[in-house]
Symmetry: C3
């Protein structure tokens, strides 16, 4: 395995062995959270966020700073040179001179891949277009592994907008490296994309499709909830019909399997009732802590600060 200098563009670029190693390094990062570390002293991370994503940006910046590194960057396209008409190629070729690693968030699909090809420093994809958000998928795996003790053998439901949600695609691919049963629960118009299903079949992953949470809640070990956006429906009435049945409430959880954990990539709007926050099922806030550990691990790995 070779991580130093490597780009983190797509979850598909990683073998199971590599992912397991990343998860192991992530767990070792916990000791640096409380007191900080000098592991990345003198290193600079550039966060180029062409669309805002406060949570992801803060998570990466906290990760870098807990390891003694520094950050530069911008948090939205406004106010950056983009307004003057600069192209991504030039931005990357300039910024790579100021930093040791680039973290990119971009509205266009393929932007991270393109940036990685151009840059001489490693590029980490923090979300580009509707397709890929690999660090989210990795932190989802880390959460499942840490909270359930394992990934293999689990029954995992992905709930909500499975057609357009970028996190669920990366996560489905990541999970397909493990021996899991997948449950896809979504309204008819937002079913998991055929291309993803096709790939899962090829990998011999068992999956089931449902349209109601209540049909899977007593079976699954992990409930991964995502938002359903109104604008995805051509008919607002259709949205209103669907909306309620995908809200996770205490009522929904009455039938829950023992040890169920609920995850969510956040921000949540109304998919999970606030009352659920206080149940032992809720792990969506702790999930962000695992995100910190995971990003610390990735930064340390691509900057060559961890023995491989």
């Amino acid at each position: 395995m070779k991580f130093k200098g490597r780009d983190i563009v797509s979850i598909k670029d990683f073998t199971r062995e590599e992912i397991d190693y990343i998860l192991k390094v992530s767990e070792e990062m916990e000791k640096h959270v409380k007191r900080g570390s000098d592991l990345l002293k003198g290193k600079i991370m550039a966060t180029l966020f062409f669309e805002p994503s406060t949570r992801t940006r803060l998570s990466f910046e906290a990760a870098m700073k807990k390891l003694g590194g520094e950050c530069i960057g911008f948090s939205s396209a406004e106010g950056s040179s983009v307004a003057k008409g600069e192209n991504l190629n030039d931005t990357i070729r300039v910024v790579e001179n100021y930093c040791d690693v680039i973290v990119l968030r971009h509205p266009l699909e393929g932007a991270a891949k393109f940036a990685a090809e151009v840059a001489t420093v490693p590029v980490i994809n923090a979300g580009s277009g509707a397709e890929e958000h690999p660090t989210q998928a990795l932190l989802d795996l880390l959460t499942i592994k840490s909270e359930k003790g394992r990934i293999d053998g689990l029954k995992i439901a992905l709930v909500g907008d499975l057609k357009y949600g970028r996190t669920v695609h990366s996560l489905a691919y990541a999970l397909s490296l493990y021996d899991v049963d997948l449950y896809f629960v979504s309204p008819e118009p937002l079913k998991m994309r055929e291309s993803v299903l096709h790939d899962l079949k090829e990998r011999n992953i068992t999956y089931h499709e449902y349209t109601k949470v209540k049909d899977v809640i007593s079976d699954v070990d992990v409930l991964y909830v995502t938002r359903i956006q109104k604008e995805r429906f051509s008919d607002p009435a259709e949205y209103e019909k669907v909306r309620g049945s995908y809200k996770i409430t205490l009522e929904t959880l009455k039938e829950a399997k023992e040890g169920l954990i609920i995850l969510h990539p956040l921000p949540r709007v109304e998919e999970i009732d606030f009352a659920v926050d206080h149940t032992p099922y809720a792990r969506y806030f702790k999930q962000t802590y695992y995100g910190l550990l995971l990003r610390m691990a990735l930064l340390a790995l691509v900057l060559g600060a961890v023995e491989e």
Copy 2:
């Protein structure tokens, strides 16, 4: 006294003994300004500014960095996840996983109190709604104490918009812990709120109400000037009438008591003539230096880096 892990939400939460201790620690911070310090190395402060306040934000960030700590955050609600509809509860429960202390600025009253209840890390209120701005009040006290050598026994005038100005309310409460004479100078429609006056009476604080600066200028030791906003007047003509008489000029200061100091929470617009800047009375810029010391002290205290 116990500061480690404590929230700084309202000036009303502090005893005089505690405030005196904070001021003492603030004075000791001066030695760290010139050369920096490692007192908060490895610690991260999150500045969550849901409304912009450059001065307050830069002051907190400089304070953290002079002590060797690091900062993450955002400087306005735009571009944060708030635009995606996230609620304050979730923002706090996420960000607390990335940091050791949260500094919050929010347009709604009660937001800091709410955040402090939710968060497991200490929360410092950097202004929420029209009610409270405790670190401003504390730095005002520090300025008075440092520049006049004491607080007890002083005659202190608060001038301008005493009805809506959030700094004057916190300051009035803070001063009520000391043995001072308060002079409230404001246009009739912007008089100090009854609720504040009521509390002062209960604490046996002597106060006087005036409508003209010239009636108090030869009596007071401290002139605390605040801005009068046009939009507070239903009749623009009323505002025009009042405007001039609240502007502090060299003329106003001809009758000033010896040793008078003029403070202002800033930004000033036209309440103090630029010519006043060059008089020995002007301390409103030095006041921001005391703000740095005060915030260094608070951060060191709530993060447990100072012996108590």
Copy 3:
């Protein structure tokens, strides 16, 4: 020579001896880029950018952080106290209490000079109005010296908008301290300002004016390309006519002198064809690396961290 505490406002404030020394210190900074340094530990730089300039801001921040210093600031006037009506005088007098050096970008000419007069800490001009951008001129010199081995004796063409472009004015003055031949290549309405030509004459600098790149391409050692903005032309048809002939392409470069280097202050829009990026002539991205070194040197010098 005395740099500690000095303002960097105009390129005109420097002697050739001083500039040569700055370039020498810049070269010595290279060793700190890879591993970082503690040279400016405990120091804080404030970046006050009243208009956005991502590249310049990131360059300064990376420079400060590579030397172990810290940064505070804002990246556009929006969201700063300016929106509340604060004047530059007050902003400077406040911020100087939070930092050890101020880096200012401002849309108004003279703003940096004014700030330098007000501030007790050193002020570095990162671009103010149409007139001055001294650190850009210095990094241009550093690029030429490093890439060509010398500045004296070179033939240097400045191409594009020579009337309004702020970088070319500072650069022309900087170059006038050396023994160079200058070639000014621009459309008729965007010719180099008379005031600059006048000063060059006084300094006995040889210069030539052209309207076509092809007339100089086989003569010059350095081609410094700048953007031509559509809005500078009263007649859009005039702009369209000019546009193509100022674009540097592989075709343009067929006649290039051996060892020619092409520079550009960036961002480029369409003045240089992407195909040129892959030729040995292209140095405009490496130029930004020299910008990092140059700004590290300036910060170390004005903060007194380098022996003089």
